[in-house]
Amino acid sequence: MGVLENNFKDNVIVASLDKLLGWARSTSPWYFQFGLACCAIEMMAAAASRHDLERIGMMPRSSPRQADVMIVAGTVTMKMALRVKKLYEQMADPKYVISMGSCATSGGPYWQHGYHVLKGVDLIVPVDVYIPGCPPRPESLIEGLLKLQEKIQTERPLTRKSV
């Protein structure tokens, strides 16, 4: 830091490139607009007038290729599970998954007798943040997204991982 200090005028911020990248990535994770069930309505409500997800940099994308975060909003059934997996595989790295609501987390109310319900989306894709609730309020979703942003911020994309 010593070399750079006091050598520049205003409007210059000095940071490590890793941290800068982490900050930039964390503040604009575009999510995959992909509603499954009831939770999708709350996701819509979160994106609409009152809660307005775009103020924390979240923007819906309709294609998995352009999205960073997949919000699994709702019950995943066996028929859909294979598709969810395909969609996850289509997303570009780095990618994150949020499991929204108790259905996506564990099967929720459909746990016991739901012969056609997948008991937790983590059986097929890795999940970063779980949001409880049936359905979670938009505030809970925003909280979960902020938690995810914190997680992204701590990542160091340029640092080589020790294998």
Binding site: M78, Q112, Y115, H116, K119, I124
Partner: protein
């Protein structure tokens, strides 16, 4: 028309088709399965009956020993009367004539009942599963159904059965 009149009309047109069943409630009539397609055509086209709306087809499994049933709720938009037709099927070989071409919605309702109970609607042009995937095993709403252990490599966790509800 009242329910009794409708029942009498059907009985008169197709003698012996109406079966007596004490267990049925109001507005319900049990018919023989063999003549169902003719009776249904008559019920739809006859101007005094004119059942132009098929509200619902419900499959019912009456238990381990009992038969499977298809129950048709019919309603007439013109005369504002209704009836419920019950047809029993043999558990081993459940089949009945399809009314898909009379009421267009019958197509999907019959596919749904087929999907859930395995009742075969003969003459249906496209009888496939509608809700479950095509390669699903078993008929989910039958009382003796047991869930699959895995589906395409996805393992279904075993859940301990609780005691009865009493």
């Amino acid at each position: 028309m009242t329910f009794a009149e409708i029942k009498a009309t059907i009985e008169k047109q197709y003698p012996g088709s109406v079966l007596e069943n004490e267990g049925l409630g109001d507005h319900q009539v049990e018919l023989k399965g063999e003549q169902w397609i003719e009776i249904a055509t008559y019920m739809k086209t006859d101007p005094t009956l004119c059942f132009d709306q098929l509200e619902c087809i419900t499959g019912v499994d009456t238990g381990e020993e009992g038969p499977l049933q298809s129950r048709y709720n019919l309603h007439s938009m013109e005369h504002r009367h209704k009836i419920e037709v019950v047809i029993c099927h043999d558990r081993k070989n459940p089949k009945v004539a399809s009314i898909e071409q009379l009421w267009r919605i019958g197509d999907w309702f019959e596919r749904e009942t087929y999907d859930m109970f395995g009742i075969v609607y003969e003459g249906h042009r496209d009888l496939r599963r509608i809700l479950c995937p095509d390669d699903w095993e078993g008929w989910p709403l039958r009382k003796d159904y047991e869930g699959q252990e895995s589906y395409h490599g996805i393992i279904v966790p075993k859940i301990k059965e609780e005691e009865g509800w009493e």
